[in-house]
Amino acid sequence: MIFEIFRQERKGQPFAHAGSIEAPDAAFADAWAREQYGRRGESEALWLVPRDSVHQITEWADEFDLKYRRVDGYSIKSRLKEARERAGTTAISDS
């Protein structure tokens, strides 16, 4: 069985994929991953997941330009400039 190994480097950090190990069962996978990914105390924690349990999604539908849901869907610069001119003010921060 192939086990995918996810590694957390420090408390609070996300678990990141670190590699994979082929092992006969979970006991061997644990013993082997412990040393391969933690013998230097370099990992706070490990997640071991059988590869078959990992589902991948790589296809997305983005047909109708729904940019309002993202930061890049907004362009406020020119209107902000106009509003300041009307109010006779300058930018909050000089930059």
Partner: protein, 215 residues
């Protein structure tokens, strides 16, 4: 040499020589994954040996490296068990399994010692040994039905007994489930195998080439 120093050296020598033997598998274990794990065990054993030598060194006015390397082969106090040159996996794992069981009996006693330094070190070693035991048990379970492994365990049993004091051997027999009438045939500490001299020659070759040098 006082009793405490002798006792420390016996355990230190066991761990050093076994660690040496186990480190011989670095690079040639049955799988790469096991190779990495097994090498950690070997390093841990040598680390234990070093800590024990350091305690003994305080006692004897020496240092850990001098105790580890500069004695003559006949001055080592290891059990014959750890000296055996076992370059097949069945025997190697059988030894790991039996040694861990024996060491657990020994450590359990040491942790109760009224020698606080020794008790403290035994507790520290024991915390690392948890993983060695898991490893040994994992392999023993996997190879349970393998005749090679069972034969190796039976063959090495009299040697394993020799690691412990006589009054601790019944406990080991109970844990391992091996017949207690074989208690009579233990390979005792005190007699060394020819393998130890061979190992010692190789082990000290570089160190002896420039005596007293820093490396």
């Amino acid at each position: 040499m006082n009793a405490r120093a002798l006792r420390l050296l016996a355990i230190a020598d066991d761990e050093l020589i076994l660690g040496w033997r186990d480190s011989e598998w670095t690079g040639i274990a049955p799988t790469l994954e096991e190779d990495v794990a097994f090498s950690s065990i070997a390093q841990n054993e040598i680390g234990h040996a070093r800590a024990l030598y350091e305690l003994a060194a305080d006692e004897l006015g020496s240092d850990a490296d001098a105790l580890a390397f500069d004695r003559a082969p006949e001055e080592y106090r290891c059990a014959p068990f750890v000296e055996l040159h076992l370059m097949d996996w069945a025997h190697t794992i059988a030894r790991r399994y039996l040694y861990e069981e024996a060491d657990r009996v020994r450590l359990d006693a040491l942790r109760q010692s009224d020698d606080p330094e020794l008790a403290g070190l035994a507790a520290k070693i024991d915390r690392e040994e948890v993983y060695h035991r898991l490893h040994a048990e994992m392999w023993a379970a996997r190879l349970r039905d393998e005749p090679r492994f069972r034969d190796a365990v039976n063959e090495l049993w009299p040697y394993a007994l020799g690691v412990l004091e006589p009054d601790q051997r019944a406990e080991l027999a109970r844990r391992v489930g091996l017949p207690s009438n074989s208690l009579l045939q233990a390979h005792e500490r005190g007699e060394h195998t020819p393998e130890l001299t061979e190992l010692w020659n190789e082990m000290t070759e570089v160190r002896r080439s420039v005596p007293g040098a820093n490396w």
